[in-house]
C-alpha cells in the first residue's frame, strides 16, 4: 500500500495522477470489499476491482468535484463494472469463503460467537442484491450515507432510510435464528 503510482513517462506526475494515487491507496481494500460483498465471488471481485481501478485511472481527468467526492466517483465506476460483470455472467456466485474461515479459526471462537456469526452470514445471504449492496457500501467499504446516495443515485436521506431498513431486517433475522 505504500507504493506510489508512477507517471507514465519520465516526467513529474501531474496533479490528477497524484490525487489518483492517494485515492488508490485509500480505497483499494474498500473497493474490493464492496465488490466482493456484492458479487459474492472472490475471483470475480478481483477482476472487477482491477478493472474498476483501470477505468478510473483512464478517466481520472473527467472527475467532476461538483458531482460528489472522489470516493463516490470511484465506487460508481466500481459499481458499473460489477453490474457489467453480473450481466455478463448471468449467474449467481456463491460467497467465497473468508480467509478467517478457511484457516479454521472459527473452531477457536467461542460457540456463542460462532453461532451469531453463522446467523449473520445466513441473514446476509437472505438479503436481496440491492440490500446486500447497501451493506457492502456502508459496512464493508465504509462509505458515508452521502457517498452511498451518490453511488446508487438517490438522495442522502433515502439512502439512510434504506440502510436502516436493511439493518432492521438483519437484526430480525439474527434474532429469529
Amino acid at each position: 500500500m505504500s507504493e506510489t503510482l508512477v507517471a507514465p513517462a519520465e516526467q513529474a506526475p501531474s496533479e490528477a495522477e497524484v490525487e489518483f494515487a492517494e485515492l488508490y491507496r485509500a480505497s483499494r481494500d474498500d473497493v474490493f470489499a464492496y465488490v466482493a460483498g456484492l458479487l459474492r465471488d472472490r475471483a470475480a471481485a478481483e477482476d472487477v476491482t482491477a478493472l474498476a481501478f483501470e477505468r478510473a485511472y483512464r478517466r481520472r481527468k473527467s472527475f467532476n468535484p461538483k458531482r460528489g467526492t472522489r470516493r463516490a466517483w470511484l465506487f460508481g465506476i466500481a459499481r458499473n463494472a460489477a453490474l457489467d460483470e453480473l450481466r455478463r455472467r448471468k449467474r449467481q456466485a456463491t460467497l467465497a469463503a473468508e480467509p478467517a474461515d478457511e484457516d479454521g479459526s472459527v473452531a477457536e471462537e467461542a460457540a456463542e460467537v460462532a453461532l451469531r456469526r453463522a446467523a449473520l452470514r445466513q441473514a446476509i445471504a437472505g438479503l436481496s442484491a440491492r440490500e446486500r449492496e447497501l451493506v457492502a457500501l456502508k459496512f464493508f467499504a465504509g462509505l458515508g450515507n452521502g457517498e452511498i446516495a451518490t453511488v446508487i443515485g438517490t438522495s442522502e436521506s433515502n439512502a439512510g432510510t434504506k440502510i436502516h431498513r436493511v439493518l432492521e431486517k438483519l437484526r430480525r433475522a439474527c434474532d429469529e435464528a
Binding site: M1, E3, T4, L5, V6, A7, P8, A9, A21, Y24, R28, D29, F32, A33, A36, G37, R42, A43, A45, E46, D47, V48, T49, A50, L51, F53, E54, Y57, R58, N80, L83, D84, L86, R87, K90, Q92, A96, E98, P99, A100, R116, R117, L120, R121, I124, S128, A129, R130, E133, V135, F139, F140, L167, L170, R171, C174, D175
Partner: protein, 396 residues
C-alpha cells in the same frame, strides 16, 4: 441484538483482500495500469484463468515502449486525434460538396454554350426582335461574352421567320477598351482579326500614337467603326472585349419597323402604279398620250427603285450591326497588372474567407445532423446500459 452490535459484526464480516492480489494490483497500478499486462483482467477473460493465478508472462522487449505509446494515446493524443479526425472529415465533406457544386455549374454552362454556338452557326442572316422568352439565350450569350456585361435582350431569328407582326430592331454597340501601352498596337491589330473572323467589315478606322518604336510617341488611341453580322454579334463582342480591359459598353436599339413597312408599302404602291401605267401604255392610241405615260412610268420606276433601296438599306441595317470600338492606352492598367499590392491581397483574402465559409457551412450542414444522431444514439446506449445494469442487480 442491538444495532451497534450488529454494525460491528457486519464490519467484521468485511471481505479482506488477498495479499498476493493486492501486491499484483499495486504493481499494475505503479506501472499506470497498462493494457494487456499480466494483471489486465481482460487477458484473464480471454482464457488465462483466474485473476490471481495468472501464469508469469514471457517478457516482451517492446512492451515498455508500447505501453508508453498507449499511455500517450490515452492521455493527450486521443483528444488531438479526435479533433484532427473531425477537422479532416469536416474538410473532406466540404471539399467534396464544393466540387460537386462546381462540377454541376460547369456542366450547365457547357450545355448552354454548346446550344448557343450551334444556334449562332445555323442562324445565317438574322435580325433582332424583342422576345419575352429570350432569357436562356441571353444567359448563354453572357457566358460567351463574360467580360462584356449585360447583353442584348433580343433573340435572333431568320428572315423567313419574320411575320407581319415582327418588330425590326436596329442595334448599335460601342465599346471602350483600355490597354497597357505596350499592348496597344497588338490590341488595335486584334480588332481587324476579330472583324475578319466574324465576317464583318471595317467602315472607318483611326489609329494614332502608341508606337513603341517611336520615342516620345503620344499615348495610343484607336477608333473603329465596324459592321458585324447580327448573328455573330455576341461572339464578336466577346472577342473584342478580350482585347483589353473593358471600360464601358453602350448598347442601343432603335425600332425601324415603320421604315420597313413604309418601304414595303411604297414598293407595293409603285409596283401597282407601274403595272397600271404599263396597261395604259398598251391601250394608248396617240403619240402624245404614250409619251405622257412613259414619263410618268419613268418617275414611278425611279420611285420604286428608291423604295427597294430603302428596304434593302433597312434590311442591311438590321443584319449588320454598327459597332464602335475605342481603344486607349492607359499606363495605370499596366501598373495594376504588374504589381501585387495590398488591394490584391485583400481581394485574395476575401476570396479565401468566402470559400472557407462556404466549406464550413456545407460541412456543418452534413456533420451537424450526423452529430445529432450520434448524440442521440450515445444517450440511448447509456440509458439502455443503465437499465441493463439495474436489471442485473434485481435479477441477482
Amino acid at each position: 441484538m442491538r444495532l451497534e452490535e450488529l454494525e460491528r459484526e457486519l464490519r467484521e464480516e468485511r471481505p479482506e483482500i488477498e495479499p498476493d492480489f493486492a501486491t499484483r494490483l499495486d504493481e499494475w497500478a505503479a506501472r499506470g495500469f497498462p493494457r494487456g499486462g499480466e494483471l489486465d483482467p481482460r487477458r484473464e477473460r480471454r482464457g488465462r484463468g483466474p485473476f490471481g493465478l495468472l501464469p508469469a508472462r514471457r517478457p516482451d522487449p517492446g512492451a515498455a515502449s508500447k505501453r508508453r505509446r498507449r499511455r500517450r494515446w490515452a492521455s493527450g493524443d486521443a483528444l488531438a486525434a479526435t479533433v484532427s479526425s473531425g477537422l479532416l472529415l469536416f474538410l473532406v465533406v466540404g471539399v467534396v460538396a464544393l466540387t460537386q457544386v462546381e462540377t454541376g455549374g460547369e456542366d450547365h454552362a457547357g450545355d448552354d454554350g454548346g446550344e448557343v454556338a450551334a444556334e449562332s452557326a445555323d442562324s445565317g442572316r438574322q435580325e433582332f426582335t424583342p422576345q419575352s422568352g429570350g432569357d436562356q439565350s441571353e444567359e448563354a450569350r453572357d457566358e460567351l461574352a463574360p467580360a462584356v456585361g449585360q447583353s442584348s435582350r433580343f433573340q435572333s431569328f431568320s428572315d423567313s421567320d419574320a411575320g407581319p407582326n415582327r418588330r425590326r430592331q436596329a442595334q448599335t454597340v460601342s465599346l471602350a477598351l483600355a490597354t497597357p501601352p505596350a499592348e496597344f498596337r497588338e490590341s488595335a491589330d486584334g480588332v481587324l482579326g476579330v472583324v475578319a473572323d466574324h465576317n464583318g467589315f471595317v467602315m472607318n478606322s483611326s489609329v494614332s500614337g502608341g508606337d513603341p518604336e517611336v520615342a516620345g510617341a503620344k499615348p495610343g488611341r484607336a477608333q473603329f467603326d465596324l459592321r458585324i453580322p447580327a448573328g455573330q454579334l455576341q461572339a464578336a463582342l466577346a472577342a473584342l472585349s478580350d482585347l483589353g480591359h473593358l471600360v464601358s459598353r453602350t448598347d442601343g436599339t432603335r425600332d425601324i419597323t415603320a421604315r420597313f413597312e413604309s418601304a414595303q408599302d411604297r414598293i407595293e404602291t409603285f409596283t401597282a402604279t407601274r403595272d397600271r401605267l404599263l396597261r395604259q401604255l398598251e391601250e394608248a392610241f396617240t403619240e402624245t398620250e404614250q409619251q405622257s405615260i412613259r414619263r410618268r412610268l419613268r418617275i414611278v420606276e425611279n420611285q420604286l427603285e428608291n423604295a427597294r433601296e430603302d428596304l434593302a438599306r433597312a434590311q442591311q441595317r438590321v443584319r449588320m450591326v454598327p459597332v464602335g470600338v475605342t481603344i486607349a492606352a492607359d499606363e495605370s492598367i499596366e501598373d495594376e497588372s504588374g504589381a501585387w499590392g495590398v488591394g490584391d491581397a485583400w481581394g485574395a483574402a476575401r476570396d479565401v474567407l468566402r470559400v472557407a465559409l462556404g466549406v464550413a457551412l456545407i460541412a456543418a450542414a452534413v456533420i451537424l445532423p450526423l452529430a445529432l444522431i450520434a448524440l442521440v444514439a450515445f444517450l440511448a446506449w447509456r440509458l439502455v446500459a443503465r437499465i441493463g445494469r439495474e436489471r442485473a442487480l434485481d435479477e441477482l
